[in-house]
Symmetry: C2
Subunit: 414 residues, 2 copies
């Protein structure tokens, strides 16, 4: 690729810098940075949008804020006129795991793939403009490959290169088996980029290896190489593990305004800046401002968290609901018991516990039957959300606020 | 597989033992021996021939005695009523090497594959009864596999298992690249055995890994597992390297009786028993007898070698030509200069040398022009074969007999 930046006028160079500042916001790595800059320059010069790829595994369609880290980045590209290519990995999903060992890779039917894709789209529509998205199913080209094609594909990569992938390397070292078919998942992902001539592929840092496969294969097939844009992984509400459904430390983007706002209140203080950076629609300047004010003490962490919670609700439910959620939260503490004045209790019990046992162990009420009655009377709240199920199983998170009746509050340290 | 030997009567057990003695003759390894014994028993009990597989690479159709090591073993199975399955690896041949690196794996056209296969068959017909052979081209089934089938196939083997193959392991250790498609050659070979339900696959010891792939895949596909029968590699006329065309240390089965006989005379003494065992049609008893007589001194090595030469010529050109070749050899030395009385010269010159330089350096003639004249007058012989080309490039082998005119002989030690 020739150097397009050199061919730009000052105004255009400024536009490249402006876009790059947005795209760089919060990213872990852009590989290579210069290539993206040059591609943006080319796009301006030729008035052609860049093709921004995101591959989706159709097996897990529940979208939470962890996923929106890349979705927000996609939105930024979309807002600047570039084209999003969503690729549903239906071919992979339909194959399943030939060894039959992996629970994660169950074979999906056509129906399931279609259903899951639809669920994705509905949720994605809350972040990106789905009408402007190019949609692809990779079975379109992968299912047409025959053995000879596969051999040709395999001939363009070495075993040593594949073994460099962290998890493969680790399993070799640990003596854990790698089934040969697993080598094909990165190959397929790379070949998808060849077929769609992607300019950039987005993913979490755990996609580092797979996304670079795209560059590798595009080069082998004589195409312009894509840029890898890697976003950091977002820790969940526990502040430690990657946000995921199985860890129960997530905020789903389909959750109610109350739940969203309430859960937001339990985001650990030290992660607040990261959340602002990765999952809100704030500009680089706004985020810089919040960070600076948090550091200087101008902005109280509680107020920042309320702003974050309100922002999250606004993004997925609109202004009105956001306002309501905030008012509701304030109302809960209107008796003067604002969050920062709530007694804090270090939780040393189990991480998973029934709501009844939790309240009894916290000595907020003295018997299980009392708790059940209180729940039936809608007098128990977690992070400001009313508990309606006496059987509820609670996953303890740091900063969880348990409220019983109008006046009993406890905030858990965990 | 149940135990069929237990179900045999004494006569049948004797027959199993008889066949096993023949099949075991000269082999390097039978994996596992018991399985072959049991398969032979089953074959006798059910009156069903065993299916004996030999895979052929269609890229190198020149057959020499090195190849006949397995062909002779096939013949023994055929003579006992079993069926030979010849598989032309045309699918592999047509793919070539996608990396474009290997000179050996040029992509072959359909025409070339067909032509090469025909050349094989004409030559094989000298050892086995081609009318009784089952013929297969593996493109018949391999070309029909799609990506999904390939993934399923790959899902049934681990990377660690493939890396156990000696040459792969060595390359990993040496940091030499292994292209991923190379992993598929053993897989294809294994899948061929699944498709043809082979009972036994024959090959040289260098096929150890690939042939065991057949067992692996047959088991994965719920088939009865084949036996691996591995033959030793035959050293060529230099006594060191595996016989091969590129090393010029071979006797081709299409060569003239004179050439065959002459080259046989330069087989190193210490390899004679091995040649009798691996490339003649002698019975185990006959070979045992020759070995014993060579050890006791009853049989002179020269006479054994003449018997070997005559046998080889008989196998590929018939009795009459064998007799003629022997008589011709004796005639060359009829002036009383029998081989064992020829002066022996230690050759310290180059291994590849022109015939003219060779004779001058041996001081059999004093000038290059004299040598050329002598060749034109058909007065120069190598191992009893007249040299007709003054440009001939000679590859020195141990025991090579150079004759100039009627009386000048020299035997080289190399």
């Amino acid at each position: 690729m020739s150097n397009f930046i050199e061919q730009l006028n000052d105004e255009q160079v400024k536009e490249v810098k402006r876009q790059m500042a947005i795209y760089s916001q919060g990213v872990q790595e852009i590989i290579p940075f210069e290539d993206l800059e040059n591609k943006v320059a080319k796009s301006i010069l030729t008035n052609t949008p860049l093709k921004i790829k995101l591959g989706l595994d159709p097996s897990a369609p529940d979208v939470h804020l962890g996923h929106t880290v890349v979705l927000n980045k996609m939105r930024q590209f979309q807002e600047n006129g570039h084209v999003i290519q969503l690729i549903i990995g239906d071919f992979t999903g339909k194959i399943g795991d030939p060894t039959g060992k992996s629970v994660a890779r169950q074979q999906l039917t056509d129906e399931e793939v279609k259903h899951n894709a639809k669920t994705y789209f509905e949720q994605f529509a809350k972040v990106i403009d789905m009408d402007q998205v190019e949609l692809h199913y990779n079975s379109q080209w992968l299912s047409k490959l025959n053995f000879e094609d596969v051999i040709q594909l395999a001939g363009k990569i070495t075993v040593a290169r594949l073994l460099e992938r962290d998890d493969f390397e680790e399993r070799i070292v640990m003596g854990k088996p790698i089934s040969l078919h697993e080598f094909f998942y990165p190959l397929m992902q790379g070949f998808d980029s060849v077929m769609l001539e992607c300019d950039l592929e987005l993913g979490g840092t755990d996609q580092h290896f797979n996304i670079l496969m795209g560059r590798h294969y595009q080069e082998k097939f004589g195409k312009e190489k894509q840029v890898a844009l890697l976003m950091p992984l977002l820790e969940g509400l526990d502040g430690v593990e990657k946000m995921s459904k199985s860890k129960k430390n997530y905020i789903g983007i389909d959750e109610s305004p109350q739940e969203m706002y309430g859960k937001s209140m339990s985001i650990p203080d030290q992660l607040m800046s990261k959340y602002f950076e990765l999952i809100t629609d704030f500009t680089p300047e706004q985020i810089q401002d919040i960070k600076a004010r948090l550091t200087s003490g101008d902005l109280h962490p509680r107020d920042a968290k309320m702003l974050l919670g309100k922002t999250i609700v606004r993004m997925y439910h609109g202004e009105v609901e956001a306002e309501k959620a905030e008012q509701n939260f304030i109302a809960v503490f209107q008796q003067g018991s604002m969050p920062d004045e709530i007694p804090v209790v270090e939780w040393k019990g189990e991480a998973d516990i029934s709501i009844v046992d939790l309240i009894v162990q916290l000595k907020l009420l003295s018997s299980k039957s009392e708790v059940r009655r209180m729940i039936d009377n809608r007098g128990v709240q977690l992070n400001g959300v009313k508990v309606e199920d006496t059987q509820l199983q609670v996953t303890i998170t740091d900063n969880l606020i348990v409220q019983v009746g109008k006046r009993k509050f406890v905030q858990l340290k965990f």
